[in-house]
């Protein structure tokens, strides 16, 4: 177990290092000219950090959500949070808002995510506790509504800003700079701290509310607390770089194959490997057809999905 965790940590730092020095062109850290230095420090470094943070948020929130909803198909996008964020971001882009400069669109996305999370939470709230089924269904319903509204806006608008909105919705890390790092860091660290501290409660919730109750946890309150952390993590990831699929849904499952279902290990390991995967996928997406860039989300799924299917055949266990 310790070896496996160590392995994930090594992969995490390895993909970060690789993404700094490898890319459309190789940078030799011992022989830096002016341009390489600038590319390394103000283009690659912030972009890799944003990719890591975003991947960590997605991996961890997926693991937590699958636990609190007791549903292997749950992922941070199923709750409608990302659709709400995308809708708000697209509105911001199309309205040409720039009140807060470069962080305007991320700010819109964040506000949209938090607002949606609150609405979904209220819909799932009944008799003082959060109900998993209600939460999930409310999320799916809102998700459809917001996606439809987004399509509506895009259909009736002939604006060139659409190109940006679409790229953004499909996940785009190309404009990442250091301004996004501090708030991303705060949100992801805060969002990760809750499930790590409450990992035992999460374990108990997976086994059932009665069981959790008998262990001295209040299922309703624990679920609410963990749901809030998922909301912050998802909001952080969507506002950092749009929507990137696969990581939130399948990275936790891949990690379950590897380290088992104990959330004390599963959540941090899902975060680390989610970050590593996104960082690596982003590296591929910008290096494969230079000087053109592909959306990172395409690469995450193309790398990740076959590996997941391979594991599924070999291990043939899939439990939370």
């Amino acid at each position: 177990m310790k070896l496996k965790i160590f392995f994930v940590i090594v992969i995490f730092f390895f993909s970060f290092g690789l993404s700094l020095f490898w890319g459309p062109s190789v940078i030799n850290p011992f022989n830096l000219d002016e341009t390489s230095r600038e590319i390394l420090l103000s283009i690659r470094a912030p972009r890799s950090v944003v990719a890591l943070l975003m991947g960590m948020a997605l991996g961890a929130s997926g693991a937590v959500l699958q636990g609190i909803l007791r549903n292997p198909l749950a992922d941070p996008y199923v709750l409608g949070i990302s659709s709400g964020a995308s809708l708000a971001a697209a509105l911001g882009i199309l309205a040409g808002a720039s009140v807060f400069g470069a962080v305007t669109v991320p700010l819109f996305a964040f506000a949209g995510a938090i607002a949606t999370g609150a609405v979904v939470g209220m819909m799932g709230w009944n008799r003082g506790v959060i109900w998993p089924e209600r939460l999930l269904l409310a999320g799916v319903g809102l998700s459809f509504l917001f996606s439809a509204l987004l399509m509506l806006i895009m259909s009736i608008s002939a604006d060139e800003g659409l190109r940006r909105a679409i790229l953004w919705i499909f996940g785009d890390l190309s404009m990442s700079d250091w301004t996004r790092v501090p708030y991303g860091l705060v949100l992801v660290a805060g969002g990760l701290a809750i499930p790590i501290v409450r990992a035992r409660a999460l374990n108990a919730l997976v086994l059932g509310d009665e069981f959790a109750h008998s262990l001295g946890f209040s299922p309703g309150k624990e679920r609410l607390l963990l749901f809030v952390s998922v909301g912050f993590l998802t909001a952080a990831s969507v506002s950092l770089g749009g929507m990137i699929g696969f990581i939130g849904l399948l990275v936790p499952h891949i990690m379950r194959f590897m380290v088992g279902s104990d959330n004390r290990y599963l959540v941090p390991v899902s975060a680390l490997s989610g970050g590593a995967l996104l960082c690596f996928a982003d590296l591929i997406s910008k290096s494969i057809l230079p000087p053109m860039e592909l959306p990172a989300g395409i690469v995450t799924a193309i790398i990740g999905a076959p590996y997941f299917l391979f594991l599924l055949r070999r291990k043939n266990v899939l439990s939370l």
């Binding site: 590319i39 940006r164 000087p291």
Partner: protein, 277 residues
Amino acid sequence: MHKPATLFLILLLFFCAIPSSSYGEASRRIISLAPNITEILFSLGLGDRIIGVTTFCDYPEEARKKPKVGGMWNPSLEAILNLKPDLVAVSTNGNHKEFEERLRSMGIKTYIFTARRLSELPRDLREAGQAFGAGQRAEVLAQEIEATLSRFKKPAPLRKKRVFFIVWPDPLVAAGPGTLIDDVLNLLGAENVAGKARVSYPKYSIEELLRQAPDIIVIGDMREGIQKMSEGLLKRLKSVPAVKNNKVFYIGDDLYRLGPRTPKGIEDLSRLLGDKP
């Protein structure tokens, strides 16, 4: 019993078919499905015959007032039929072929503009002039374009200016190979930095742009807010010669459409590149 009716029908079809050979001359109700076609038709003096345009057709000013039939990629068949056109003008550069086929299968005549490259524009204009019975005006326009092309055609200088044309600053999208902008840069003896990308409008890597260090950056200023939106990008490109030497320029949308405004776009770009015509 049915024979006279059938005969009448055949004759009717026959007579209907005759004017179609002289095409648009007889067309009083034309719908244009691309903004550059709208501009060409207006410049041929056919503006008052246009009864419908796309939502992208914003030039000349009168085009804005024409009824809209939808976008370039998704025009509404119903809206088109409702306007009862006798000719729909489409472009191979932007409209779907299937849509044109659909129109023809419903008995609507179509006229197809085929020019994609700068060098094909005069021919396309002359053909359209013939078809729409505006041959003289088309000839004048075609000659104007040919004159511009030969006036600006330059032998390649010893060191080509390396130009990067930004279509959209955030995320960074450039004008790549096969675009009118690429053609014009080549005409002016400049090198299009994005000319070797694989697609026409590549989403461009910022770090590659830093490495390629263009001498001049031109930003297409087609929409309010582009200049403000570009600030962040330019800040990140501050070590690039173009930014360092204050060679970042904004240019209007004349070079986005292959049509009557293209010569003006060529002149503007040439001026920005610092060449005297």
